[in-house]
Amino acid sequence: MVEIRVNGRQHALDLDPDTPLLWVIREHIGLTGTKYGCGIAQCGVCTVFLNGAAVRSCSTPLSAAAGGSVLTIEGLESREGRAIQAAWAELDVIQCGFCQSGQIMSATALLTQNPAPTDADIDAAMSGNICRCATYARIRSAIKQAAAALA
């Protein structure tokens, strides 16, 4: 039995500890906002917070999260997260939307650590998140807009 806290709720799971956190969240806890895109930490659509840090849940075994606290897009409530979502809405960043939970989690992690990111900071923090619709220009603008709103 592995215990984890997800979005503030405690879960006890009788699963193989090697099961990727992604599939635990999606199929055993039922939170599907976090997506599967590559399975090898190359695309970022599975990004969640584990104990406050952004991780690729597809490549994080459940055992690594045991006793830990996980935050997914559904539980995003921080000041930075709200500002990011508001900017995403104002600029209509999304297209197909499939990568956007991951983009928003990565962008929130960036703003939480760095309230005034430069273009180079944004490149460094966001280049692990692929968007095949190439919404990158709007993502960049929305991060800057959220940073300005929080300043």
Binding site: E27, Q42, F98, S127
Partner: protein
């Protein structure tokens, strides 16, 4: 000023819509799948009071639900089509809701594709433009009639604005208040649609997308997210090479994994089914499989290209001819010649392919981000021995597609049906491909090779253009020869080349369509992905050979093509064409028409040694009337970005028949740090709207190649672009 529509085809539409409307009630439509979804948003509880046609439903709660017949895969159909309805209805944008249409080609066919329901070819807005406006106008007219009757006033005196009807007498009512009364009235034989001067929503750049809210909080539903009682997830082992056949397999090691329920053989491989993805995938990975590869395809991309280089020496099927290109080349003052090569490309949509299928009262139900309802219905029905209409389809969002989900053979939806059948046909099955499956299972943009020879006269004007194209035929492989192949020429292979816009008196374009067992498919902007590259690079070389400015030279040769000229001029102006740039930077330009839209792009590159970066791209587009300017901008930004990936990094290669790439570490795509600053300018137009999903994609590779030539003198003619 409103324009009355009374023609017969319109009446036909109304009758059809009315007849169909009777069968589509709110209860029937939401009664099945939506209730099964554990977290489906609660239905509003309101009755669908007014439902005059297949596209609009007005509830007593004042909701206006627009039924959208086209897949929302990011391109904005769930915003664009409702804009048309809301405009003619004079609805408030915030009262408009969106619902994906069920599979029913009798009501929801693509009007450009005859009796076929599906999304593609950048046709969603263009084919719906009149249909959806009429759908809104009909509902509006019925609400007006209901109000006139209730208030005992002349219908002509009633105003409709922002979801409210009003009369000078002080009477007011909302849509919801009038919906039931309106539903009692006959559907009008003719309606008025607005004069464009009256548009309030169409053309409003501040209108926000309908799918933003649920795509930023994780609640948007994709096929990957479907969860049903008893659902089994299937992961499939596909052949290692195209054409390999399964000789034998041992399900033992897979079945030994706790949670694996079934292992079944299907025509395309072996599927492992379990209650969850991870267990099914572990089972799939443990399968012991033996393949017969004696007939399998074993060529490498290099060998295919070498073969194409021999084909290009001989004449092919003639796609366009005017004057005598060979004679004009022989007597030309200067000849410019170029060989162009582009690789296979995977679509690499963000959501790996998947499809849910489950038993239904009268057949089966498919749940899918469905791009090609009619093909999926036919494919699934053929596998299961059903009639196509026994295959219901519930529409979800697709995590993009770029053409892949509209497969010509319904490959993955039919595979889901095969698994469903092999597993007994009683259990809901979700087929889920891994990224590796998605990359390696084929259906690529074909590898193409082009040779262009062009001759200039002493004044630098082109007098001859000889263009030979070699590559697999998508239309032939798709079984669409009757519609798309004329005299041996697949128009999907020569579009953008055979219809050269530049004025050249002696023109010759021909085509070789070699057959290969590598499955191929339309990939965002299809033939234009390679024809625009060849044409726009050669025209740039001609300008250089003539000692002319590339923009001026194009403008002159595009005489008689004002829309090409319009976007070219606008992009050049906005990009500051001709103004000096710092050392190591240069601009390149390209202009191309596709899907009845016109796009010009100016790319600005920065070069350091063999490395380069695209810093800025200025785009001008003429897509007729701009219904949703901000969605158009987004499609220009994203369509350019999709093409930029192919220009810079994407390449799928075969080695002895095996696909060398498998996932995003080796099949590279565009990332944030490679995305240029991008500016989009829309040419004002009163023409009917045309496509925006694809037209930006093919323009960027030649624009960047031309910028690199300006910066370095190197003419790169192979994608992805690499400086020597």
């Amino acid at each position: 000023m409103r324009n009355q529509i009374t023609n017969l085809s319109r009446r036909g539409f109304l009758q059809q819509g009315l007849a169909a409307g009777a069968g589509l009630t709110l209860g029937a439509h939401l009664g099945g799948f939506s209730r099964l979804l554990e977290a489906a948003p609660a239905a509003d509880g309101a009755t669908a009071a007014l439902e005059p046609n297949a596209f609009v439903r007005i509830g007593t709660d004042d909701s206006v639900t627009v039924i959208v017949k086209h897949l929302e895969m990011g391109q904005g159909t769930y915003t664009g089509l409702p804009t048309l309805v809301a405009e003619e209805l004079d609805a408030r944008w915030d009262q408009v809701r969106v619902e994906g249409a069920p599979a029913d080609a009798s009501r929801y066919n693509n009007l450009f594709w005859g009796p076929t329901q599906g999304t593609g070819g950048s046709t969603s807005m263009a084919n719906s433009w009149q249909q959806m406006r009429e759908a809104g106008a009909v509902a509006r007219q019925m609400l007006i009639e209901a109000a006139a009757k209730r208030w005992q006033v002349d219908a002509q005196e009633i105003q409709v604005r922002d979801g409210q009807l009003s009369h000078a007498s002080g009477q007011r009512a909302s849509f919801g208040e009038l919906a039931e009364a309106a539903a009692e009235l006959p559907v009008p034989e003719s309606v008025f649609v607005k004069d464009p001067k009256e548009f309030r929503l169409i053309g409003d750049a501040t209108l926000r997308r309908k799918d933003t809210a649920d795509k930023i909080d994780g609640s948007a539903r994709y096929t990957q997210d479907v969860s049903l009682p008893g659902l089994l997830t299937a992961v499939v082992a596909h052949p290692p090479r195209f054409g390999a056949r399964l000789k034998s397999f041992d399900p033992g090691p897979a079945m030994a994994i706790k949670g694996v329920e079934k292992v079944v053989q299907i025509p395309s491989g072996v599927a492992v089914l379990a209650g969850d993805f991870w267990t099914a995938k572990r089972g799939r990975d443990r399968l012991r499989l033996e393949w017969d590869e004696s007939d399998a395809f074993k060529l490498s991309s290099d060998a295919i290209l070498e073969h194409y280089k021999t084909l290009v020496e001989a004449p092919g099927a003639v796609a366009a001819v005017q004057g005598d290109a060979e004679a004009a080349l022989a007597s030309a003052d200067k000849v410019v010649e170029g060989d162009f090569a582009v690789p296979f490309l995977a679509h690499a949509a963000m959501e790996p392919l998947n499809c849910v299928i489950l038993p239904d009262a009268d057949g089966v139900r498919v749940i899918n981000g469905e791009q090609s309802q009619t093909r999926t219905q036919a494919g699934v029905a053929a596998v299961l021995g059903l009639r196509p209409e026994q295959v219901r389809i519930d529409m979800l969002y697709a995590g993009s597609s770029f053409g892949r989900r509209g497969n010509p053979k319904a490959d993955f939806t039919s595979e889901a049906a095969e698994i469903f059948k092999a597993a007994g046909g009683k259990t809901a099955v979700k087929l889920q491909w891994t990224r590796e499956d998605d990359t390696r299972a084929g259906w690529y943009r074909p590898l193409f090779f082009h040779r262009v020879r062009a001759g200039l006269d002493a004044d630098g004007r082109p007098v001859a253009w000889h263009h030979r194209i070699v590559g697999q035929s998508i239309a032939v492989d798709a079984g669409m020869e009757a519609r798309m192949v004329v005299d041996g020429v697949d128009r999907l292979s020569v579009e953008g080349a055979a219809n050269l816009a530049y004025g050249v008196p002696n023109l010759y374009v021909d085509l070789h369509s070699p057959k290969l067992p590598v499955p191929i498919q339309w990939w965002r902007s299809v033939g234009h992905t390679h024809t625009a590259f060849a044409v726009e690079c050669i025209i740039d070389e001609l300008a250089a050979a003539a000692g002319r400015d590339p923009v001026d030279y194009r403008m002159e040769l595009l005489d008689g093509h004002p829309r090409h000229q319009g976007v070219l001029k606008l992009a050049a102006e906005k990009a500051g064409w001709g103004t000096p740039l710092p050392e190591g930077r240069a601009r390149g330009v390209a202009v191309h028409a596709s899907f009845n839209s016109y796009v010009a792009q100016v790319a600005e590159v920065r070069v350091r040694g063999k490395a380069f970066r695209v810093d800025r791209v200025v785009i001008a587009v003429d897509c007729g009337m701009a219904v949703n300017p901000d969605v158009i901008k987004a499609q220009m930004e994203g369509g350019m970005g999709y093409g930029l990936a192919a220009a810079l990094v994407s390449s799928l290669t075969l080695k002895d028949g095996r696909v060398e790439q498998s996932n995003f570490h080796d099949y590279q795509v565009l990332r944030m740090d490679q995305m240029p600053e991008v500016e989009v300018h829309i040419v004002p137009s009163a023409e009917a709207p045309t496509g925006v999903g694809e037209p930006a994609t093919p323009v960027i590779a030649p624009a960047v190649a031309n910028a690199l030539a300006a910066a370095t003198g190197q003419r790169l003619r192979t994608l992805p672009l690499k400086l020597a």
